[in-house]
């Protein structure tokens, strides 16, 4: 089972190390981790995707809460959450297949952000399954490089996850 945790932390140096260190020390698996500042500049938000059953999730949450710099941990249920990830794909391409790739990008509402004689870079945003899907379709052309940001998420509606 995968869970998305929204973790508000003090925006101080060393906090990422504390969180990442706790995960590796206790043997929890992180699928992705993103971090960035929030509307309050003294607070950062980490969005962490962890793998594990409910017992693991409970331990992870409690261990996160034990860190002094962690202000709040929320388990985001997928029904009530919007989640996005951004990916960049550098695909081998030349005149012969450029338009085919552009069509695929179009279907996924992805954008071409760089075109070179033998490659192009495609930017796509969406939930994980969408990014997995376009990756599948681009693979036959030859993905030279790819980067994914990991998931970011917010709760739907006016109510947020704040301190």
């Amino acid at each position: 089972m995968r869970h998305t945790l929204s973790v508000l932390v003090e925006n101080k140096h060393g906090v990422l190390t504390r969180v990442a260190g706790m995960f590796s020390r206790r043997g929890y698996n992180i699928d992705s981790l993103t971090v960035g500042v929030t509307e309050d500049p003294t607070i950062s938000r980490m969005t962490i995707v962890v793998r594990g059953d409910d017992d693991v999730l409970e331990q992870v949450t409690k261990q996160l809460n034990k860190l002094i710099d962690v202000i709040r941990v929320t388990d985001l249920k997928s029904e009530e959450t919007v989640e996005r990830e951004l990916a960049l794909f550098k695909v081998s391409s030349d005149v012969s297949n450029r338009s085919e790739i552009m069509q695929i990008a179009d279907i996924f509402r992805a954008r071409i952000i760089d075109v070179a004689p033998r490659s192009m870079i495609i930017e796509v945003t969406g939930d994980e399954s969408k990014i997995d899907a376009i990756e599948q379709l681009l693979r036959p052309f030859g993905i030279r490089e790819m980067v994914r940001t990991g998931k970011v998420a917010l709760r739907r509606g006016a109510k947020g996850v704040s301190s």
Partner: protein
């Protein structure tokens, strides 16, 4: 914020903060980057105890904390001084002891350059501190120190490290000491949920085979009185862990000794046949539970603990009550009634008679059984503080003394650190100068920090080191005997040192007992002397700690190992 007390250097500010925190004794060792701080200490009222190895400073601070309940403080220089503290910090972390460790650091401008004596001590200690700080702005020093003491001593206590770059200690700041801390990410729960407490009371009332399993949390929460009241009210037997020793009177009829690997048979049998475990301030350590799957398999489990992360970490808990043990027990006492334990207590009495802790005196000769020494120390000085090293002697000290009061037994539990006891005894003695303090030691463990003889002589700290000299790293030898066909690989340390001469070389008193009837006189002489004393007790060399649950076995699969002659 309180009024400013004027301009001062960071080093002076540190001393000022220590005063405000009520610190009167610190343990440490100087070095280059600490010069400004040591200069400020020179004419302060704080007693600085100069150890001979920084590891000892950390252990001594912990011993001080355990004996007094206050936060222990130690200080070491950058690089090797700081890394020498690591074992002591880890030890305090495992046993949840309040401690603040200060380390010097190279000047801010050099951090990250592999400067002379630079070590990333905040990085190194991240997994073994409750929290740590690298001070980056001298103006923040008072706030950080205030927070450090607050974090170390509240909630589940633990060590906090504050790393002090040299320039921070020389910079002039306007000194303000904050009245309170504001940590939005740190709000320990103290009050237990009343609904849960009532549920626990209901379970207790219906229970036929209740067992109270109490640990270090009872000591740190100062809840021994409430625990005793509860046990008597509900009529449940009480087992205390190594770190919980003294949390329940060892001479009480409801006391059933220690659980787990070297616990009493009757404590282990009681746990295994229990229908309700009332766990207070414990963490279901593997040395206690043995094979997890069969631990108290038929029992419901009530778990009272200040740390929510301990709930259901190892053993699934039925009724968790998160909060401070003292307050929760006080509340539980209001609702709890007598359990249905009449038959159960009879059974426990039967087990106690049938399977007492025991050892076999040598039939001939006058050799010294180690357990006998513990009994003699107890008879000579029942209200002593007993500190221990790690090994067989530690287990005998836990089994045979029967501690009556909290904070009278001090031992390295979670980390099992050889070399802990002697420096910890220094801290205990300085914290409780009116108490007789023994370090129950092994010939192996003592040699891990024997340099502290210089400290106790120079500072005149009259602790008594009782070396159980069996010529072996006995606990390891015991495992080799049982599980490795008596192949005593690297565990024989016979005749490696003359401990009496070693004591004398430092100016301490050295005594030796080689026969049974020399044991008591040596103890008496050491107590009477009022001097730092080493007693070399030459004991039976292949005595085993009994009983014993083999690693990985269920705790009722417990073996008798007493050695006949």
């Amino acid at each position: 914020m309180t009024e400013s007390t004027g301009k001062m250097t960071g080093a002076r500010a540190l001393i000022e903060c220590l005063y405000r925190e009520g610190v009167d004794t610190i343990f440490g060792y100087p070095g280059g980057v600490l010069l400004p701080i040591y200069d400020a200490l020179y004419d302060s009222d704080i007693r600085h105890v100069l150890v001979r190895h920084e590891q000892a400073a950390a252990h001594a601070a912990e011993g001080y904390a355990r004996a007094t309940g206050k936060t222990g403080v130690c200080i070491a220089t950058s690089g090797p001084g700081a890394t020498n503290l690591v074992t002591g910090i880890a030890n305090a972390y495992m046993d949840s002891i309040p401690m603040v460790a200060f380390t010097g650091q190279v000047p801010s401008s050099l951090i990250g350059n592999d400067a002379f004596q630079e070590a990333n001590i905040t990085g190194i200690t991240m997994p073994i501190t409750k929290h740590n700080y690298l001070v980056q702005d001298a103006k923040e020093l008072p706030r950080i120190i205030k927070e450090a003491f607050h974090i170390a001593s509240t909630g589940r206590p633990g060590p906090v490290l504050v790393d002090l770059p040299k320039d921070i200690t020389t910079e002039e700041i306007e000194f303000y000491y904050p009245d309170k801390v504001e940590l939005r990410g740190y709000n320990p729960t103290y009050r237990g949920n009343l609904q849960q407490i009532k549920k626990a009371a209901a379970e207790i009332k219906n229970s036929e085979n209740p067992v109270i399993y109490a640990g270090g949390g009872v000591i740190s929460s100062d809840a021994a009185g409430e625990l005793k009241e509860l046990a008597e009210k509900i009529q449940a037997p009480v087992t205390t862990t190594l770190t919980g020793m003294g949390g329940f009177p060892g001479n009480h009829s409801l006391f059933i000794g220690m659980p787990g690997m070297h616990g009493s048979k009757y404590a282990n049998y009681a746990i295994q046949e229990s229908d309700l475990i009332i766990a207070v301030g414990v963490r279901f350590d593997d040395r206690v539970t043995g094979k997890l799957k069969s631990f108290a398999a038929n029992a419901k489990i009530i778990h009272i603990d200040i740390d929510p992360a301990e709930i259901s970490k190892n053993v699934k808990v039925d009724i968790p009550i998160v909060g401070d043990a003292k307050g929760i027990l006080t509340n539980l006492l209001k609702y709890a009634e007598k359990s249905q334990s009449e038959e159960w207590l009879k059974k426990i009495e039967y087990w106690k008679k049938q399977y007492p802790l025991h050892y076999i005196e040598p039939a001939t000769g006058d050799g010294i059984k180690p357990q006998y020494i513990i009994e003699q120390i107890k008879e000579a000085c029942e209200d002593a503080i007993i500190v221990t090293e790690v090994g067989q002697h530690q287990m005998w000290a836990a089994q045979y003394f029967r501690y009556k009061e909290p904070r009278t037994f001090i031992s390295s539990g979670g980390l099992g650190t050889m070399g802990y006891g002697f420096p910890a005894s220094i801290g205990a003695k300085l914290g409780k100068p009116d108490k007789v303090v023994f370090d129950i030691s092994g010939d192996g463990s003592f040699q891990m920090n024997s340099q502290e003889l210089a400290t106790v002589v120079q500072e005149n700290v009259p602790v008594i080191i009782a070396i159980f000299n069996n010529g072996y790293l006995g606990m390891v030898r015991q495992w080799q005997e049982l599980f490795f066909d008596r192949r005593y690989s690297s565990t024989c340390i016979q005749d490696s040192v003359d401990f009496v001469k070693l004591a004398e070389a430092y100016g301490a008193l050295g005594l030796r007992a080689t026969k049974r009837d020399e044991v008591r006189p040596a103890i008496e002489e050491a107590i009477k002397s009022g001097r730092p004393t080493v007693i070399d007790f030459v004991v039976e060399c292949e005595e085993n700690v009994s009983p014993m649950v083999p690693a990985g076995a269920a705790i009722n699969e417990i073996l008798d190992l007493e050695r006949k002659e």
